[in-house]
Symmetry: C2
Subunit: 385 residues, 2 copies
């Protein structure tokens, strides 16, 4: 297998964007990434997307977007793994380049969600859960996560406000991210006053949907130097799965696919959790951030919120998370999110994060989660010399 590097990144702002269609959003991100990489051609394009058929009235995004960005003819598919679709597309690009089937590959994640009503979007998001065993019984996707959070708070005797710093940190980091949906800091008082969505999940425990696209260009590391002086290599790319249904897991508070995917990633990169300098976590809901920190080896089970309360997740802390705002601050255009995470990790490792820049990070981890932990894609990125 060949070593793989990211040689180009692109992203659109996450917005309620009524001016651009799905294909325009995707093209903006792809063309920005191609420009960043200095390429005019590619061997393949993989599109991460969850809900284009249900919400944007379009499937077959691979050929559509390849053609629209001027790459008519090349290999192109759409990959879907619920909210992990974006990182799944990166994973597929990694496979093609690492395996020697392609030299230059583009992975783009795109989602256009705000053209439809909330009911239709909520119905779409529920397709990430088990249709027969969860959704049919009336559970929305946020309700499933609410059950998980309630269980977490009960089992570990955690108060709601102990999750506050996940949202506060995300909003604070989003302030200086021009592509983030929100640019206002959040106070503890605002967090505590936020209305409930599905108790105990409040508005401020929840990431906002949005329209957006992000893209990366990958190539073999040994060819990467020709394209870019600020190399970032993919030190690990791993996937693990679990049951879609929460009730079907041995212990719903242990995200087994996170554990398995992260462990494989550390093994592939030859490092330990301590070596990770920052973590682009899948904070779709604050409880998912806590559970992911635990299952990824940054905290003991039940102690994820301790990292938040102790300030360790902020930019100056021991394990900074969501360094450009995360899902909560930057926004969560579901099928695009996983690519945004990788793009932001590359920005950190290149030293392009402005006021949010960490001091010379070496390893960044980006972890994208589909459903309530059923598909987990983990990438570890490493700064080049």
């Amino acid at each position: 297998m060949r070593d793989v590097s990211v040689i180009g990144i692109g992203q659109t702002p996450v917005l309620e964007n009524w001016e651009k269609s799905l294909r325009h959003l995707a093209a903006d991100a792809v063309l920005a990434a191609m420009h960043d990489a200095g390429i005019g051609q590619a061997d393949a394009l993989y599109v991460g997307n969850m809900l284009s058929g249900e919400i944007a009235g379009q499937e077959h995004l691979g050929a559509l977007i390849a053609d629209f960005v001027g790459l008519r003819g090349i290999e192109a598919f759409k990959i879907e793994a619920a909210c992990a679709s974006g990182a799944a597309a990166v994973r597929m690009g990694y496979m093609a380049v690492a395996g020697g089937l392609a030299d230059v590959v583009i992975a783009v994640g795109v989602e256009k969600m705000t053209d439809e009503t909330g009911d239709i979007v909520a119905g779409g998001l529920a397709l990430a859960a088990d249709g027969d065993y969860e959704v049919l019984h009336g559970l929305s996707f946020v309700a499933i996560n609410a059950m998980l959070m309630r269980r977490y708070m009960y089992a570990y005797e955690i108060q709601h406000k102990e999750f506050a710093n996940f949202a506060i940190c995300a909003h604070q980091n989003a302030v200086h991210n021009p592509n983030a949906r929100f640019h206002s800091p959040l106070t503890l008082e605002q967090f505590e006053r936020a209305p409930m969505i599905a108790a105990p999940i409040s508005l401020m425990d929840s990431s906002p949907i949005g329209d957006g696209a992000a893209a990366v260009v990958l190539c073999p590391s040994e060819q990467a130097r020709a394209f870019s002086s600020k190399l970032v290599r993919i030190a690990a790319s791993t996937v693990a799965t679990d049951s879609l249904s929460l009730h079907d897991r041995n212990d719903p508070l242990r995200l087994q696919a996170v554990e398995y995917s992260a462990r494989k990633a550390y093994d592939q990169a030859g490092i330990r959790p301590d070596d990770i300098d920052f973590f682009e976590v899948h904070d779709a809901f604050s409880v998912m951030a806590a559970l992911s920190l635990e299952a990824s080896g940054f905290a003991e089970p039940g102690k994820g919120t301790f990292l938040a309360r102790g300030g360790e997740i902020f930019l100056h802390g021991r394990i900074p998370i969501a360094t450009m705002g995360g899902l909560k601050g930057r926004g969560h255009p579901v099928g695009a999110t996983g690519v945004y995470q990788v793009v932001e990790a590359v920005q950190q490792l290149r030293g392009e994060c402005g006021p949010n820049q960490l001091a010379a990070p070496r390893y960044g981890m980006a972890q994208n989660i589909g459903g309530s932990g059923a598909t987990v894609v983990t990438h570890i990125l490493e700064a080049g010399e």
Copy 2:
């Protein structure tokens, strides 16, 4: 890159199957393929599917099906490329094995279409076409193909009945396929009397939708002997794309992605069209069969129907197509079709086709088309010694 072989196949009958849900259909095919290969474990599962979100109320099929067949934990995604989703999943499995990222991979195609009304299914199928430039103007997917057929008949001065043998051959080959949707031969008179769907496409120019699933197990050829005594290797796996919109092509009667994908496949296999012993063609509509034969190098432009009229496409002919019934006779559960084609090619190369068996074929080609030629995935399979 490693050489890859198919070590197991499985399929369900194509039916209007109200007894089995999408996950059950997929599991039937996967478990049959695993049994055929003699394996109890796999490294990854890739699911080809187009419309589960729109019709079956379920996305996130990768993790769902992996879990349901007893493989919880492994890498799993859904791949979508309209009606080429099935072969796209096989292509992804090929990539993983050829590239050395996985040793044993399962690719399954599944579609459950008959639970919904015709309107909803037709709306779903239209998602394969360009939403903004074709569908928005009132075109259904069959109407798009009807324009193509009209143009074909006009340009090449072809009468409708000259397409008859595509349907007659498909129905005849389906008679002895226990997994086919239809088991009645079709007469020329029946073809000529068939009602119009979207002129000039009649009911007998159109393949039927259906519920079904098919699966293959892939592994490196050098390990394959341990599993199976009837080896079939993948001599080529290629993809090419074109514009979704018909109007946006230089010449709508030249399927450029078919041409490009087939040429790459011949190059990879180191053979010429003459070496192909049979062709599992994407006969979603009879005009697509004619155009595919032409663009794949089996007939000059405009001469595809000549092969049908001359009987060359039948089992005893020069280039047998749709040897187990094709899309027209076996049925077209859209996201599963591409895997059925590969499974049937393997059956031929193993000598397991009963009354439909060709005499010791060496090379079989399976070609899966998404939309009206926008995504084309071609596999060439070769019988082992």
